[in-house]
């Protein structure tokens, strides 16, 4: 095959553009989320895209792994931030250390991860997130979960499931059963890999019997309502304090009126080690990936010199947008606005007064061929062409046309 066309300009693996319709839909999502964040008194912050690698690595106590790395003038390694939670923790610990707390912030931004070779992953993830810093206990966890629920509902998600687990509950259960430390590390790895078969193989080697053996075996599959909690707490000795906290969290979520959409999931694991308490994932049955993840990380801020408990979540805006599209609520934008032929050279004052009233005016040069096609493509409602009497107006919504004497009369 011979093709003499120049090769189209490519993009790095995982990078992609956004066209106007998608951008408008993301804009609508952002408006919904901002409304929910504002209703709980969260205020916006922003951090830079570039961070020092060693600063983030000290904070999370492990190597960053696959991230985009570059060097500054002095040869110090910088990264494109692979997540926003850690930078926001840095911001709060260093810039807001004199704030008496609790501190409530939200952010919109992009996190950067090179997609693994051969996978279609995106290299930039658009995120929104909220952090509640300087408050601990079930009440703070409940507010964050309620905020997440309200945010995703405001964005339009109709079938929300928020799965919550608790690292300290899982630890307490394993303590109660008497699982040795080295086996626990292996169990943790199996759980992070979501490998329940391996979990059971490791669990089979632990020397316990009876109901405790069964509980250990089935622990990652324990998900459901309050009954899960009473079951595990009856069997595992010493887990009562952790169970009380989770039980209180569930009571608070009932008062928020969202308990129906919350499920307890003892087997939720986070592969980042900084989570210390509640962990959560938000799901819609329409998409195969979590809409949001989050949890409590009380030991993160101290890495930046200001110890403070914190709970937060990050919403993946691309997954959220996909869920809304599959749910069918991301419909076509309702046509509005006026396309004015010859509007680039004439009728400028009338156009300005319409714009001042909030009516989009889209100008075309005189002699533009097929302005109706132009309007249909970009979703504009009226097409106006000047004629001897004034203006001929086509309403693309119903195909009707009329003649008006002045531009202001197009939109009654």
């Amino acid at each position: 095959m011979t093709d003499l066309r120049p090769e189209p300009p490519g993009l790095p693996a995982g990078a992609r553009d956004s066209l106007p319709t998608e951008s408008e839909e993301l804009g609508a999502i952002e408006t919904g989320l901002r409304g929910a964040f504002a209703a709980y008194g969260y205020r916006e912050v922003a951090t830079p895209v570039l961070e020092y690698a060693d600063v983030l690595e000290t904070a999370i106590d492990q190597q960053l792994g696959d991230v985009y790395r570059l060097f500054d003038d002095a040869g110090r390694v910088m990264v494109l931030r692979p997540d926003i939670t850690v930078p926001v923790s840095r911001l709060i610990a260093t810039r807001m250390s004199d704030h008496s707390g609790p501190i409530r912030v939200f952010y919109f931004g992009r996190a950067f991860r090179p997609p693994p070779p051969g996978t279609p992953g995106a290299s930039e993830v658009r995120q929104a997130g909220a952090e509640l810093v300087g408050a601990s206990g079930p009440a703070a966890d409940a507010e964050l979960i309620a905020l997440l629920h309200r945010s995703l509902s405001a964005a339009g998600i109709g079938d929300l499931t928020i799965a919550i687990g608790d690292i300290s509950l899982t630890e307490a259960i394993l303590d109660g059963i008497g699982v040795p430390r080295e086996i626990r590390t292996r169990l943790g790895r199996a759980l992070a890999a979501r490998n329940l078969v391996e979990w059971q193989e490791i669990a089979a080697a632990v020397n316990v019997s009876g109901p405790m053996r069964e509980l250990l075996y089935e622990l990652p599959a324990q998900r459901g309502g309050r009954e899960v909690l009473s079951k595990v707490c009856q069997i595992a000795p010493g887990a009562e304090p952790a169970c009380r906290d989770v039980s209180q969290l569930l009571t608070l979520l009932e008062q928020y009126g969202i308990a129906e959409d919350v499920m307890l999931d003892v087997g939720i694991a986070r592969d980042w080690p900084y989570y210390s308490g509640v962990v959560l994932e938000a799901h819609s049955s329409n998409v195969g990936a979590p809409l949001a993840v989050g949890g409590r990380y009380d030991r993160l801020a101290e890495r930046f010199g200001t110890p403070r408990p914190a709970v937060g979540c990050a919403i993946d805006l691309d997954v959220l947008n996909r869920a809304l599209t599959l749910q069918g609520t991301n419909g076509d934008r309702e046509a509005s606005g006026v396309v004015v032929v010859d509007g680039l050279d004439h009728h400028l004052a009338a156009a300005e007064s319409l714009r001042a009233r909030g009516v989009p005016i889209v100008c075309l040069p005189s002699g533009q061929s097929d302005p109706a096609e132009f309007a249909a493509r970009d979703g504009w409602r009226y097409v106006v062409e000047p004629d001897a009497q004034g203006f001929r107006v086509l309403d693309t919504r119903d195909g009707s046309s009329k003649t008006v004497s002045s531009l202001e009369d197009v939109v009654a």
């Binding site: 499931t161 799965a163 890999a193 979501r194 490998n195 329940l196 078969v197 391996e198 599959a221 998900r223 459901g224 499920m263 999931d265 994932e281 799901h283 819609s284 049955s285 998409v287 195969g288 990936a289 979590p290």
Partner: protein, 211 residues
Amino acid sequence: MKPLTVCVPRGALLEGSVARLKAAGFDVSPFDEAGRRLIFSAPDGTVFVTTRPTDVPTYVQAGAADVGIVGKDVLIERQPDVYEMADLRFGECRMVYATAADEDPTSGALNRLGTVRIATKYTRVAQEYFAMTGRQAEVVKVNGSVELAPLVGLAHGIVDLVATGQTLRENGLVAREEIFESSARLIANRVSHKVRAAELDALAARLSGIS
């Protein structure tokens, strides 16, 4: 809620999968009548999709299927982000390193060339196994009839899945090292595992023959 969608591999695991689904109480008659159709519904509403074995994790990870049946070999090679819910204990086989039966060229190649050349469908498995055992290897990706490669000098040995060993024997090869044992696994999408928790747990128990 949408009907449960089950991804079933065409190929070596198909027969065992259908037998297991039947034993678990599913009406599997659509499989007999399916012919070349790739997707069909059982009378109880369950949707079955059939794909190439290596594509099963792809469909499940993306949520195009809630659950899937797939060999452990594919999971180790592909490392998908899915729940591995149950070992279904059929389709048992071994991942092995095999070379010519008359003389093993491995140590000779490592001594003289510094590296041994491996033909395989499982490039990640081969690379990681030889790295782990401290030997340099050049891994050549082939898509089928792997046993041919050492016979015509494409490679010194192969890394491949062996059930009975008959294909190896017929081609004058012998398994030298076992890398891991494989069997069929039930995998689940991350979201389905939460949103359809009870349904999937019951399915896992039925397919494992526990209830």
